[in-house]
């Protein structure tokens, strides 16, 4: 297996006497989208700032692409692209000029630079605004410019802090799509306090509360999916019997009086549905009930808050 792109080991950060991050350890693998989920003030941004070298951990250590973020800060920083939460940009510069500046700062060679800038401009559909002052751009375009600069120099890791904040629904969908496409080339660490956002893009999610890492939960491809199925006039025993033969599918919850069952499957919905149909049961409705992340999040944060 390839070496992890991020290894965080017992990261701890105090701001004065306040403990902001408490012995957080996790890894991000190559081409993985890892989500950091937690309410505001749970330490997500602090963790990102430690990984990007903006802050020093009080104790513990972290490596980015094998480089220690404190001892080999310059090398570690050259392996990552970072988009901070409020998308700070040099607003007095034009988009072109800003990307050229960031490309040079990020060590893109003189001969490669124009090509690299054109590439990110095309990739983030910035062609129309490339000669405009950044101060004249909308929030959505600024977000794209910030992501574009982070991709210059072909980093191994992209770190996005609340990338969908302040965007309209259409822009949110675009960012989501972009994250999915980019994950084919690099690893992505993304934070959000919005559960459904993380659920839609991440392969794994680390749940944080009050600076503590509560759990790391696998989603999507690596994990299982849950769905709700409604049948007409079928007994619970018939449903269970027809699903018994299907490997990787189980009944999580059953409400026979309503003909509704919540199933969990590691092989998708189709095998379960076809098994039910083949057994002669009338399937009326199949709806996705998400990844179980919401339930998990509520359970964990409730327990921790008590």
């Amino acid at each position: 297996m390839l070496a992890p792109v991020i290894v965080a080991d017992k990261l701890t950060k105090y701001y004065g006497a306040r403990l902001a991050v408490d012995e957080v350890s996790f890894e991000v693998r190559p081409n993985e989208v890892m989500g950091l989920l937690g309410p505001n003030g749970s330490g997500k941004s602090t963790i990102l700032r430690i990984l990007t070298g903006y802050l020093r951990p009080t104790s513990g250590n972290a490596r980015v692409a094998g480089f220690d973020v404190v001892g080999q800060g310059l090398e570690a920083r050259s392996q990552l692209g970072y988009v901070p939460e409020d998308v700070p940009l040099y607003t007095q510069m034009r988009v072109n000029e800003f990307l050229d500046f960031m490309g040079r700062v990020r060590g893109v060679g003189n001969t490669r630079l124009p090509v690299a800038v054109d590439e990110v401009i095309e990739r983030l559909s910035l062609g129309r605004v490339r000669n405009l002052l950044i101060s004249k751009l909308s929030r959505g375009y600024r977000q794209r410019v910030a992501i574009a600069q982070a991709l210059l120099g072909k980093p191994k890791l992209l770190i996005l802090d609340e990338p969908t904040n302040g965007l309209d629904p259409r822009q949110i969908i675009e960012v989501r799509e972009l994250i999915r496409t980019l994950s084919q080339e690099l690893s992505i660490l993304v934070t959000s306090h919005i559960l459904t956002e993380i659920e839609r893009v991440a392969h794994r999610v680390a749940i944080l509360l009050d600076g503590k890492l509560l759990t790391v939960h696998a989603l999507g491809a690596g994990g299982s999916t849950r769905f709700r199925i409604r049948l007409r006039g079928a007994s619970e025993s018939a449903v269970r019997a027809s699903l018994q033969a299907v490997q990787g599918v189980g009944v999580v919850e059953s409400l026979p009086s309503q003909g509704t069952y919540i199933l969990e499957s590691t092989i998708g919905t189709a095998p379960a549905v076809s098994a039910l149909v083949q057994a002669g049961l009338a399937v009326e409705e199949v709806t996705s009930s998400g990844s179980g992340l919401e339930e998990l999040f509520l359970r964990l944060t409730e327990g921790a808050l008590r």
């Binding site: 700032r49 990007t52 070298g53 903006y54 802050l55 020093r56 404190v70 800060g73 310059l74 090398e75 920083r77 050259s78 990552l80 970072y82 901070p84 409020d86 700070p88 940009l89 040099y90 607003t91 007095q92 500046f101 960031m102 040079r104 700062v105 990020r106 060590g107 600069q149």
Partner: protein
């Protein structure tokens, strides 16, 4: 080196993009021009000594206005985070800002060279004190710019940066006036810290290596402290 030149280019452009540099230079030259003309017509001496002292006094007020935004603005806008999380060294960031500000200040001082040229054309000034005066002004500017840079690195408020820099600069300029009231040992220390006491020999045509050393080492110390202020906490 390349990333340093990139940072320097960005800083120089930022300074000349904002109207502050032009306004500051224009006001400085207007006041100095007025004073030069007036004094020349009244005294008819081919000397720039009074111009050097007046320039130094104005630099105490003007340099904090040039340096106030250097880090405070970037801290407030969040771009400091963007800059320091890119693969650049803090020392490069600090030096780029220092050199860019010095470019503006030295350009401003150099433009007063026209007065020296006028004296040269219409009179026969002693050139030694003029050269040493310009060297003294440049060294004084260097200390003040690095001081302003250091203070700007400590805050996200430009006005606070400017006021504190003006306060500290004036304190250092006049600190030797207190010296005579102090015990001997303290008197010597206070005089050695005084910008005025260090600058006066340059303005009047005398140059001492100790004064030269003071301006250079105070610049280096302030730049070092600015780097420490930026250091990843």
């Amino acid at each position: 080196m390349r990333s340093f030149l990139t940072l320097l280019g960005k800083e120089v452009r930022a300074l000349f993009h904002s109207p502050i540099a032009y306004i500051v230079i224009a006001v400085f030259l207007f006041l100095m021009g007025y004073s030069f003309t007036l004094t020349l017509f009244v005294n008819k001496y081919a000397t720039l000594v009074h111009i050097f002292f007046q320039s130094a006094g104005l630099l105490l007020l003007i340099i904090p206005i040039i340096t106030m935004r250097l880090f405070a603005e970037e801290r407030k806008a969040g771009t400091l985070e963007l800059l320091l999380t890119a693969p650049v060294r803090e020392s490069h960031v600090v030096l780029a800002k220092y050199l860019a500000s010095m470019t503006v200040v030295l350009a401003m001082i150099a433009l007063t060279g026209t007065y020296a040229a006028v004296l040269g054309i219409f009179g026969s000034p002693e050139w030694g004190p003029i050269y040493s005066g310009y060297l003294g002004l440049s060294l004084l500017a260097s200390t003040l710019v690095s001081l302003g840079l250091m203070i700007s690195a400590l805050t996200s408020n430009q006005v606070v940066a400017a006021i504190v820099t003006i306060g500290v600069s004036f304190m250092m300029w006049t600190i030797d006036t207190l010296a005579t009231m102090m015990p001997d040992a303290l008197e010597r220390i206070l005089i050695s810290l005084s910008l005025l006491a260090r600058f006066t020999p340059f303005a009047t045509g005398a140059m001492y290596t100790s004064d030269f050393g003071f301006f250079v080492s105070s610049t280096l110390l302030a730049l070092f402290l600015a780097m420490r202020a930026l250091a990843r906490r």
